[in-house]
């Protein structure tokens, strides 16, 4: 890979203060000078994936309340940002998600039950990252971003056309690691799109206490990257902008930050107490901007699924599919897999070293005693 003087690239334009929006909250299209909404089939696909995501969030929330999951960070309200971002990826691209992004994983094709392995407490990551082109869900904030940079760097060196979507929250952009990843990506010109879901809260801390930047997308400018400020509850807009940013990055135009403005409707996790820090009226305001209502209205308004009858049938089928996935998740999580304690020692090193061998034997003795 060439290490040229990237400063010869033209200075990127400032992101717009007004987020890119292609469909308003009433489901009506909004014209935009730079971006167009995806085709009808894609719009329908986005809706379907969001429905599945919403149902998945609800089911996981229930399982957490029942104690079947140790914890669950819901992304209800953020489905458009996650689904819109992920569906823009092509078949060889990688996803670098956080704990908040289970819906993104499901949309990316990861087995829904396996996405919950972390929250279930069985293991830290329930899927093979290579198989799904998806890194483990990352809990330390912003640390996944530089992995995305390294992976795409390696892929380019190996002559493969691989881009990555690195996800993080608004709070995570304050971390030093976010800065380092942005800077590395820009200097190395690796095809990474950093998708920042600005859901307005980092646990209890509001965005204004997190940054003084006009938008989080503005941060891109200082790195010599493009920044896009998008309505994160408009799946069409997120999809269009992320697709554009990925295409540009792939073509050598450099990485980008996409800030998707959205809202975390639920508590941070099931263990959170949001009444301590935020006004319920704010939540109501955002519920009116629900991404699913918006895309459903668009589908009905524009008859994207056919006439009224066909539309009802198709939407009901999506609902049934989402319910089916939720049912499967519930059923498969109800059965308690026996975890083998000996597996504790197998994947610490490439081969089990003598020290761990000794501990494995000691644990086996303990197990025999009980």
């Amino acid at each position: 890979m060439k290490h040229t003087d990237e400063r010869s690239r033209p200075a990127p334009a400032l992101p717009t203060r007004e987020p890119v929006r292609l469909v308003d909250r009433h489901g009506r299209r909004v014209g935009h000078s730079s971006f167009t909404a995806p085709d009808p089939a894609r719009l329908v696909e986005l809706h379907r994936a969001m429905l599945i995501g919403r149902r998945f969030n609800q089911q996981a929330g229930t399982l957490a309340r029942q104690g079947r999951l140790a914890v669950y960070p819901s992304s209800t309200g953020q489905e458009a940002a996650q689904v819109g971002g992920v569906l823009a990826l092509s078949d060889q691209d990688w996803l670098f998600p956080t704990y908040r992004d289970s819906v993104a994983l499901v949309a990316h094709g990861v087995d829904p039950v396996r996405t919950l392995t972390l929250f279930r407490g069985d293991w830290h990551c329930g899927y093979d990252p290579h198989r799904y082109r998806c890194a483990p869900q990352c809990t330390p904030l912003a640390t996944n971003a530089s992995h995305a940079v390294g992976l795409t760097y390696a892929a380019r060196r190996k002559g493969r056309d691989v881009a990555a979507l690195a996800m993080m929250g608004d709070g995570a952009t304050s971390e030093g690691d976010a800065h380092e990843a942005y800077n590395f990506a820009a200097v190395w010109n690796t095809p990474v799109v950093f998708l920042v879901q600005n859901n307005h809260w980092a646990i209890s801390v509001p965005l204004r206490q997190q940054t003084a930047a006009p938008t989080l997308a503005h941060k891109a400018v200082g790195y010599g990257m493009k920044g896009y400020h998008v309505d994160g509850n408009d799946a069409a807009a997120v999809y269009a902008v992320v697709s554009h940013a990925l295409a540009e990055a792939r073509a050598g135009g450099g990485p980008a930050i996409v800030e998707a403005v959205t809202y975390r409707v639920d508590p941070h996790t099931n263990a959170d107490a949001p009444q301590r820090y935020r006004d319920p009226a704010e939540v109501e305001h955002w519920k009116e901007r629900d991404p699913l209502i918006r895309s459903e209205r668009l589908i009905r308004e524009e008859c994207l699924l056919g006439d009224t009858e066909e539309t009802e049938r198709a939407l009901a089928a999506f609902g049934a599919e989402a319910d089916g996935i939720a049912d499967t998740v519930r059923e498969r999580l109800a059965g308690q897999d026996e975890l083998d304690p000996r597996s504790l020692f197998t994947d610490v090193y490439a081969a089990v070293p003598p020290l761990l061998e000794q501990e494995r034997e000691a644990l086996a003795d303990e197990l025999r005693e009980v």
Binding site: M1, H3, W123, H124, C125, D128, P129, H130, R131, A135, P136, P140, T143, A145, S146, H147, A148, V149, G150, L151, T152, Y153, A154, A155, R157, K158, V162, G176, D177, E180, A181, N183, F184, V187, W188, S343, T346, D347, V348, Y349, A350, P353, P354, L355, L356
Partner: protein, 343 residues
């Protein structure tokens, strides 16, 4: 005046050659970090590599330790074998989260699906007159983290061989380079392969007491053993090489033979790596010991300024003073019936 060429290979040269051979051997190996390109690293360990292999394989990265380790993790996830230099011990700390939370744990988190063959080269320790933050011995921080291999060579031959092995290893390796030994020389023909790095090596056999040591203190311990021999005391020197995961079989066998042990390292003693060794020796050799296991190390203070560092650094005489404290008068007495008791 042209100096006569010094015979042998220095540790710095051995490391340089190891990197050279590793890059040549495997197209997936690349070397990057701060100033490793045209400058050849602040200690010149990467000298000439960019000229030999080009900036495809050897390059300067932005100045950001966490980003260096984080990108190396991503590269390794996609099949490369990055060898990165973290310029100085104390400047590797910004990368600590990436090392502990991701590098060390990725294999475990993914149930073996992702391995990270990354080598972090960290010049560590004092003795070169560095100002603050240039002389830390940080091995205990890394050794306390399961999932990492922590190794440190004590000789030029090991430096070559262990670095080649580290690059070939599918585990992440923190490769601690005892920076004050960069200029230590040894007669050796490179390339050379020494014992596998996971195995401690008896550097010098002896019968009266065992000095357990590693990295920068190997030379010091050998010097102490040399002096002791002249004074009629036979010290065995065990060089651990790989600090974690530890294979303590060689240490146990040695101490059981000699009955006395002194752990020698450069780092501060309190809560240090030597505490682990002393505890293990205590657990495994208790009935063989003639004296408590002693530890010799740096003082329990922040690393001092250059003009005072010689007071901090353990030297051969501090090691020998500890050896003298090993209760050479046997604590055992004959019980009159052919056995031994402690009175």
């Amino acid at each position: 005046m042209a100096a006569a060429p010094t015979p042998g290979v220095s540790m710095g040269e051995a490391l340089n050659r190891a990197l050279h051979d590793a890059i040549e051997h495997d197209p997936d190996v690349l070397v990057y970090g701060e100033d490793v390109g045209p400058l050849g690293g602040v200690f010149r360990v990467t000298d000439g590599l960019i000229g030999a292999f080009g900036q495809e394989r050897v390059f300067d990265s932005p100045l950001a330790e966490s980003g260096i380790v984080g990108t190396a993790i991503g590269m390794a996830m996609y099949g490369l074998r990055p060898v990165v230099e973290l310029q100085f011990d104390a400047f590797a700390y910004p990368a600590f989260e990436q090392v502990v939370s991701h590098l060390a744990k990725m294999r475990n988190r993914t149930r073996g699906a992702v391995s990270l063959p990354v080598v972090l080269r960290v010049p560590y320790g004092g003795g070169i007159g560095g100002v603050e933050h240039h002389s830390d011995s940080s091995e205990a921080y890394y050794a306390h983290t399961p999932g990492l291999r922590v190794v440190t060579p004590g000789t030029p031959a090991d430096a070559y061989s262990m670095l080649r092995e580290a690059v070939e290893c599918d585990d992440p390796v923190v490769f601690l380079e005892p920076k004050r030994r960069y200029w230590s020389r040894q007669e050796v023909d490179l390339p050379v392969r020494t014992e596998p790095m996971a195995t401690p090596v008896v550097r010098r056999p002896g019968t009266d007491a065992t000095l357990v040591t590693y990295g920068p203190m190997v030379e010091t311990a050998l010097e102490a053993a040399e002096t002791a021999a002249a004074e009629g005391r036979s010290l065995e020197v065990v060089d651990l090489r790989q600090l974690a995961p530890l294979d303590d079989g060689v240490v146990t066998a040695s101490v059981r033979r000699t009955g006395r042990a002194v752990v020698v390292h450069e780092a501060s003693v309190f809560g240090g790596y030597g505490a682990e060794l002393a505890a293990r020796i205590g657990e495994r050799c208790f009935h063989y010991l003639e004296a408590p296991v002693l530890r010799v190390g740096g003082l329990d203070i922040p690393y001092p300024p250059p003009k005072l560092e010689h007071h901090y650094l353990p030297d051969a005489s501090r090691v020998l003073a500890a050896v003298d404290r090993l209760q050479w008068e046997s604590a055992w007495v004959e019980d009159g019936e052919g056995g031994r008791i402690r009175p």
